[in-house]
Symmetry: C2
Amino acid sequence: MKKSLGAKPLLYPTPLFVVGTYNKEGKPNVMTASWGGLCCSSPPCVAVALRKATYSYGNVMEKKAFTINIPSVDLAKEADYFGLVSGKDTDKFAGAGVTAVKSDMVDAPYVKEFPLNLECSVLHVIEVGLHIQFIGEIKDVKADASLLDDQGQLNIERVRPYLFAPGDRTYYGIGQFLGKAFSIGKEIKGE
Amino acid sequence: MKKSLGAKPLLYPTPLFVVGTYNKEGKPNVMTASWGGLCCSSPPCVAVALRKATYSYGNVMEKKAFTINIPSVDLAKEADYFGLVSGKDTDKFAGAGVTAVKSDMVDAPYVKEFPLNLECSVLHVIEVGLHIQFIGEIKDVKADASLLDDQGQLNIERVRPYLFAPGDRTYYGIGQFLGKAFSIGKEIKGE
């Protein structure tokens, strides 16, 4: 039997994005966000939604650029800290002891210590409600060279990201390999 | 050292959505999608991006409604199958042995056997590129009553969803509990 839980933003899993931006004077900032995801393969695009009240919202509107930085589980405390303080009055990079690197593709900084970085240029701004959604074209993906395999490929087990679960607002790691997509369903298809 | 991987839709984790729709004649369909995520808290909204070539794209445009259904790991084969065949020529519900239930909130069906179902009404349609993004207002969230705790709350460990990893296109389960959000970073903040 199904039970109605009401109209709420409840969905599993959601990602853990750290959004990197510069302000007007070029001061780097980062904030944590989980309302987002990929939204197009060609051009490759990612969406992230921020409240207007955030410092980062103003930065994205000013620079029309942002980065998405994926922390590994080892940096979960740092990423959580980015959501506890405001860039209005705090240098979050100094506070967490991480490094802002200027993107060579867009006018935004990425977090050097985070294993995966997407450099994005704003394509669309959609006023959804409390949150404003930015759709960014992914101009480049950068990853720690040490995480690539012999073929130069990355996988999720090397990056060791984690996820955010709305509702009880918890973080969980990535679990067991379950199978290949576009493959495990062939049994049902009768192939 | 960072290495450039090029402009591509690579991000961890992405969700595994099964999108439920009706066609013009009221025939239910489902498809698998991973380009999406929550995008607003108020009104609660979820975004999902589909290619125009899909059967479901036409259904969403026709009905301006869809559901997002989250499979548990036990139903990963069924969900993968939904991405291997087209609703143009296949009754995917019959093929997978699952049940379409008409939403009482929007003109779309949800998958009874999947533990978490979001019933959505289309608010925005954004032409991003190859993918068209639908922003749906979440009119209700339904969950299997058996998964709720004594307080009527749900958590990710009860739902047992999984995730999709782009790049090598693999599925992974949910791993260990890492901590509470807006909490584990307090150590760095100095609280």
